[in-house]
């Protein structure tokens, strides 16, 4: 199987990653089976970005990142250079917290970056610490990712030994420790203030806002930068090649490349490094260089454009570019770079239920609208699937959704109706609750007839046995 997959762009030692034509800014080493070692990293330009940074001033490094318009890759897409600028001057010490708690349904790029190129991430952390005067870095890795933890720990040990991390980095006055920390199975910890709570040894519940940014009040009450793994992994290339070179890739408002995990009913599902803002959903899903279309004999029914939290898209949205602004205006988000493709065999209600079930299970319980609301949504969808649906259930679902996200919920344009742009309003501290509303509103708006048919017919929906691995 591996032989065959290698031919098709898959790489045996990095399952899921597809190496295709196109610029590779952050996955350039993935084809090497020893890409995670210091020897390979140094042989392929490793730590040159750090050296380049150390030869200039911290302020100049920050300027470079600002000029590159490096957008955060965790989900919100906030420009890293601007976020960095929120640090209040003089309130030292500042900390760096790396968000490696990747758990958004459909998403996996941070895991690959941590497993395949941990030194690139470490170098990115060092560049950020140098630029901003961050004095200690905590690299928080999702608990379930044993291999990523192993690769990060081994890489940190090598980097300390070689003088890249710790006291007097590369013989200069720059000193910073990077300490690996663990999650232990809680999706909500991906929210940055919940991550900080977890890092302080507490239940991972989001903090009340304001302050909106941990840059003001973060870890131990100190100014803290929380950046995503992929965001930081861009910094070494950027320091070596410069912001101007970085901006030659991607579009004006979304420069560079991004990793997209494209899963579901595809001929060649995979994780692709893609030029940001230029490539369209259609190219990514149907292009020969990418997923090569929907599995044989089927057509696209709907897709999730940016992870489990994103409102769903349909065939008419295929020509949108992979860029935050147009996707937001069309009623959804690129989020964490996770695209899930569902073909015409997919039961819309069942698919929505499964995503809602996830949020109901993962709600931390701090805010009532989310704690109760996500559970009610799940129970009502479950009873519709069980053939116990009531005629009032569709309105009830929408009403519960309205209590979590008041007002018109972001939705894709449909049949001449205008799109309602993302993001939603919320009665909760964090966006988890509103995320559970996304699949419900998306599918009711588009496939109301499927809901009505189930409620009227009152037949339980049999589990459809899909032959595993067929046509993959």
């Amino acid at each position: 199987m591996d032989q065959q997959m290698a031919v098709n762009g898959y790489i045996a030692h990095a399952p899921g990653y597809v190496h295709n034509d196109g610029p590779k800014l952050i996955t350039s080493r993935f084809t090497h089976d020893d890409s995670f070692t210091l020897a390979r990293y140094e042989a392929t330009g490793g730590y040159e970005g750090l050296r380049a940074a150390l030869e200039t001033t911290p302020a100049a490094v920050h300027d470079e990142v600002r000029a590159a318009t490096l957008l955060g890759r965790g989900g919100a897409g906030f420009p890293a250079g601007v976020k960095w600028g929120f640090l209040p001057p003089g309130k030292h010490p500042y900390y760096l917290v790396v968000n490696g708690d990747e758990s958004e349904p459909g998403t996996y790029k941070d895991r690959l970056l941590m497993e395949r190129d941990p030194h690139q991430l470490i170098e990115g952390c060092l560049i950020a610490c140098y630029a901003l005067g961050l004095q200690q870095c905590f690299l928080y890795v999702r608990g379930e990712m044993a291999l990523a933890q192993e690769r990060i720990a081994a890489a940190l040990n090598e980097a300390y030994e070689a003088g890249y991390v710790g006291r007097g980095i590369c013989g200069t006055d720059f000193s910073v420790d990077i300490v690996m920390a663990w999650g232990a199975g809680a999706y909500i910890v991906g929210e940055e203030t919940a991550l900080i709570e977890s890092l302080e040894g507490r239940r991972g519940m989001p903090r009340l806002k304001p302050p909106y940014f941990p840059a003001a009040v973060g870890l131990y009450g100190q100014p803290t930068i929380v950046n995503n793994v992929e965001t930081l992994s861009n910094l070494p290339w950027m320091m070596v090649n410069g912001a101007e070179a970085y901006r030659r890739y991607g579009s004006e408002s979304s420069p560079g490349t991004r990793m997209f995990a494209v899963s579901g009913h595809l001929r060649r599902p995979g994780v692709y490094e893609v030029e940001h803002g230029v490539t369209t959903f259609r190219e990514l899903i149907y292009g020969d260089n990418f997923c090569q279309g929907i599995r044989d004999g089927h057509e696209l029914k709907m897709f999730i454009p940016g992870g489990g939290s994103a409102p769903w898209f349909f065939a008419e949205h295929l020509d949108l570019p992979l860029e935050a602004r147009p996707v937001g205006a069309a009623g959804s988000m690129l989020g964490s770079g996770a695209i899930v493709i569902m073909d015409d065999t997919t039961d819309a209600v069942k698919a929505a239920w499964r995503v809602v079930k996830f949020f109901a299970r993962e709600s931390c319980g701090k805010c009532t609208p989310c704690r109760e609301g996500t559970t009610w949504l799940e129970q009502i969808l479950r009873r519709i699937l069980d053939g116990e649906g009531r005629p009032s259930d569709i309105d009830l679902l929408l009403d519960i959704g309205d209590n979590i996200s008041p007002g018109p919920y972001p939705v894709a344009a449909h049949n001449g109706q205008e799109a309602v742009p993302f993001p939603p309003r919320q009665t909760t501290i964090c966006p988890l609750g509103p995320s559970a509303v996304a699949p419900v509103v998306s599918t009711i708006r588009r496939f109301r007839h499927e809901y009505e048919a189930k409620i009227t017919r009152r037949d339980p929906i049999p589990i459809e046995v899909v032959p595993v691995g067929a046509s993959q």
């Binding site: 420790d177 300490v179 663990w182 995990a261 009913h265 489990g308 899930v340």
Partner: protein
């Protein structure tokens, strides 16, 4: 069981890397789970003493995180993902098959104490659907036959997978002479020395 002397030494090292010892709580809970396969009351009490938390605070925190177990589980925990991408490729059917073939309910442990079966949420291997983890090691594009073979291999100890609780096979260690030193928040501090390079630049 409390932490063994060797693990207590490791715990002291981990605590020393954090500005507040309470920050070492989750890493130490993983250490205890690696030692015993699950979290015993004694271990949690011991960890509480080490990081300055009451037993209730330790258990209350641990209980928030799904990976921590308070009762013994199987030598191997199999987590089958049924979230959206896996659902589309038969993750639910795989979970049903697993339960049937192991003769346990989801969440249960086989009579021989070898295998605990769990339903997982997205484990970040979505293009490899349906996927599962055995003690947090991945298996992708798993057919029903693959699953049965996996179970046979586990029972015959043919796979190099440590028992439940052990995560990374490599531990971070920081040589004393390389340690930059923790920066406690309460210590009113000047800007780090290298930020002074900005002023030199301006002055120059």
């Amino acid at each position: 069981m409390t932490l063994s002397p060797a693990n207590e030494a490791l715990a002291a090292e981990i605590i020393s890397w954090f500005p507040r010892s309470r920050s070492a709580l989750i890493p130490l809970l993983h250490l205890a789970q690696e030692q015993d396969g699950y979290l015993t009351d004694d271990a949690m009490r011991h960890i509480g003493e080490l990081v300055g938390a009451t037993p209730a605070e330790v258990k209350g925190t641990a209980g928030f995180y799904e990976m921590f177990r308070f009762e013994p589980v199987g030598t191997y925990m199999i987590n089958v993902c049924t979230n959206i991408s896996c659902l589309l490729w038969g993750g639910e059917e795989l979970l049903h098959h697993a339960a049937e073939s192991l003769g346990v309910e989801v969440g249960g442990t086989t009579d021989d104490g070898m295998i605990t079966l769990e339903e997982a949420e997205c484990i970040a291997a979505c293009t490899e659907a349906p996927c599962l983890q055995v003690n947090y090691r991945y298996r992708g594009r798993v057919t029903h036959d693959d699953f049965d073979r996996l179970v046979d291999d586990l029972r015959a100890s043919r796979l190099d997978i440590p028992r439940h609780g052990a995560l990374s096979a490599v531990r971070q260690s920081i040589p004393a002479e390389r340690l930059a030193g923790v920066i406690p928040p309460e210590q009113a501090r000047e800007a780090p020395v290298w930020l002074g390079r900005n002023d030199v630049e301006v002055a120059g």
